[in-house]
């Protein structure tokens, strides 16, 4: 029983950590983008203020049941993904952040990541807003684009290490060093896929502000938007941790984790800050071009490894 409560505490702590880190990263991103544009930018805690304000908005409307529960589905997906990604390894400084860590399986994670998007898409669909639907159409189309190199990279890793679970990959890395170096093509493919995964420029066509009226979430306000942003923060963190886990052998304490995730996160952020926007089909073709080539290379590399 004790253990159970410890786990629950660990679970809550992990979610909170993910939220905090994710939201701070969100603020930092805004700051960085501002700096690249020669602006000062908002304070690093701006996202917290925004979320707080949105929670405090008094009224909210919905267009029906699906829209009502869509953010719940999003946060379900985010938290569940987080639960299956080992946040911290070993007996670091903060052992309670070793979350429930059900054996995370990569294929499962790939699918679980879609759960939230699909749930959101359904909610968005119910609003009847054409802009939102266009956004969904673009977003889903692009997802098909970036998932391919991503999965290729994952398959390459799985084949190379003969395990499909994240913990397995990390054990392998404990012995053979970071997969980032021992499987470089997979890393390249995955990072290129990551650009799309975070929906920063040039792959922000789904949410294109000022073209689609902020796209998919355009009918979501107040608590819905707040929950979506919370979920987004957690999800971003979870994804980053996943990348760190599979390519950089995770992190044993919080600082290393923050450093590693931040470094990784800077790739899409900085790339996005200076890039114009791709149209959807251009984005898809991009993903099915070089990233897929590297993915294929990674698989071939893994076969002969």
């Amino acid at each position: 029983m004790d253990e159970f409560w410890m786990k629950i505490i660990g679970f809550v702590a992990t979610v909170l950590l993910a939220f905090v880190v994710g939201a701070v990263y969100g603020g930092l991103v805004r700051k960085i983008i501002a700096r690249t544009q020669n602006r000062i930018g908002p304070p690093w805690y701006q996202n917290f203020i925004d979320i707080l304000k949105l929670y405090s908005k008094s009224s909210a409307i919905n267009h029906g049941f699906m829209q009502h529960i869509a953010p719940a589905m999003a946060i379900t997906a985010s938290v569940t993904v987080l639960m299956f990604v080992p946040v911290l390894t070993g007996d670091g400084w903060f052992p309670w952040f070793e979350n429930l860590n059900f054996k995370g399986d990569l294929i499962f994670l790939v699918y679980m990541m879609v759960f939230g998007s699909l749930g959101m898409a359904l909610g968005i669909g119910q609003t009847g807003n054409p802009n939102a639907a266009i956004g969904v159409s673009r977003g889903l189309s692009m997802m098909v684009g970036y998932e391919i190199p991503f999965v290729m990279a994952l398959v390459a890793l799985m084949v190379q290490t003969e395990t499909t679970s994240i913990t397995g990959l990390m054990e392998y890395q404990d012995q053979h060093g970071w997969l980032m170096f021992s499987s470089p093509f997979a890393f390249i493919a995955a990072v290129m896929a990551m650009l799309g995964m975070f929906h920063y420029g040039p792959f922000d066509v789904a949410f294109a502000p000022s073209e689609l009226a902020s796209g998919p979430p355009s009918e979501f306000g107040g608590k819905y938007l707040a929950l979506m942003m919370t979920s987004g923060s957690i999800f971003a963190f979870a994804k980053l941790v996943l990348f760190v886990d599979i390519f950089m052998n995770g992190a044993s304490n919080l600082i290393i984790l923050v450093i590693k995730t931040l470094v990784l996160y800077m790739i899409p952020v900085l790339y996005g800050a200076v890039s114009p926007r791709y149209r959807t089909e251009q984005a898809i073709r991009y993903f099915w071009g070089w990233p897929t080539f590297f993915g294929a290379l990674a698989i071939i590399f893994a076969i002969y490894y």
Binding site: S58, L122, T164, S218, I299
Partner: protein, 618 residues
Amino acid sequence: MNSLLLVILILLAGAVLSFLANRIMPILSGVMSFLSIGAAAVIFFVQVSAADSMAIPISGFSLHWGINAYSWLFGAMVLGLSVFVALYAIAFMKGKDRLGYFFFNFNLTIMAMMGIVFSTDWVSLFIFWEIMTWSSFLIIIYAGISEGRVGTKYMIFSAIGGYAMFMAILVSNSLLGSFQIADLVSGFGTLSLGNQALIGILFMVAFGVKSAVMPLHVWAPRAYADSPMAFTAIFSGLLSKMGIFGMGILMISVFAQGTIGQTFIFSNILAWLGAVTSVIATFYALIQKDAKRLLAYSSIAQLGYIIVGLAIGTPLSIMAALFLAVVHAIFKGTLFMVVGAVERQAGTTNMEELGALIRKMPWTFMAALFSIIALAGVPPLGGFVGKWMLYESLITSGFGANYFLVIMVFLSSTAAFLYSYRFLFGLFLGQEEPEFDHVKEAPAIMVVPMVVLALLLLVIGAFPGLLFEPIANAMAYMGVDVNWNMTVLSNVWGDEVHMEPLWTSILVMFVIGATFLTFKTRRNTRYVTTKDIHTSGEIPEAHENMTFSVNFYQPFERAIEPVMKRKMDTYYNRIGEGLESLFGFARKIYTGNGQTYAIYVIIFLSILILIGETIFNK
């Protein structure tokens, strides 16, 4: 009386009775059909055991029937789903004409499928196979769309398949001296390589047609889409599985005996065909604007996965294939029923016209939602379990080409999200239209089967072991042993997915999130219509519909344009045209002119006299 015979006879009697009942009262027709299928199902699940077997001597042959774990799996699938669909069909077909005709063939198709499942020799299997073919053909042309062209296409391909099987059966009989399936299994290894290939390819063509593998699939989209939805649920859900049933026998047990099974080439070609089928079919599914067509293409794609699983042939992949087969039967059956309900209530299935039925048909939507989640393979529903096993089996198979196969399958199933969403969006979401204000929820008799099946998917997702058990038994019968666990999925590398924590996590978080959303400032949260959206201040008129539903995936279409340029259909049409002109030429032999015919006689006579020595002198 033997319970196997009883099942068949009840279904046959049901067919005849429902044909006759139509004369008394049309609705009785459907009721008769439902009752007979229900009775057959009860007998099947209660009475039929592995000990049952029988032989019917018939003109020099004897038709052997029996049941084993493998055929029980498919039998259970057929009758289990048919009961629901038959119940649904009562309401769905109400008010249509020629119900007797429909339900006669409906029952006959199900009878034929049970016959296929029960058969332990090829002749019996072939007889029922052909009965299944023509009875389903008769239902396809029931709708009368385009004057049976769809039906003709179906019939041509079925005939190709059927006759390929016929030939394979006869060749194997002449080589092995037995029509028994078991004898083919045991004797296949003794055949020469050429004969193995011949029999293998012929059987593959036969089963490939029904399971709509790549070059043989062109009949499927229209046939699925144009028959009445109550039947398409059977057609796509079960009839296609008969192809899988046969392929399973071949891939799992027959080829394993032969040298051909060890060369990899055969199964690899098949696996790639399956994968390519699924990718292309998925692409076609997502450019459809008719929900029925969308589901039809989706069926083809899903069957592609199953074929990949069977062809790879590791224990896990076979298990994945069989699991997907069962789950696909359930969710695709449900989805076609959903489309049927929508068609019946709203009068159309065009996704560009329909929309926002969610508030009018909430139960139908729920069934559709669960089925779609299962179709897309998103956890935690049943579809995910099958997909996971398929991927893991490919990844752990240790064969280079399979790693690219997994990418193909993945591409297909990721693109499947697109059409999954399109389906739900097109029918149930989007803006409400006054045109469809009159739409009401389908009658309970239609809703209940759909919802029950949808819930079944939920249960299978939580306890996949419920399905693993019969599947593992079936595979054990076929000589492949697998380990299974009630709620844990595992692959050969020892990696596992535990469904329990997954379920707990998802459920807990969902409940927390939903509760939070619902109770926070609940009083202030209110429903507004879908007209009340951000439209830059413009207030849309009641008749203005702003749902984005035309060319929904246009950007994606542009991206995949090079693939879509080549259509199998056009190749067949070209072949067809070529043959037509060739036939036209042949037909000209009969000029209709008496003199010509006389000249033929003379020429023939002279030729024979000239070369008679060489022909006859042997």
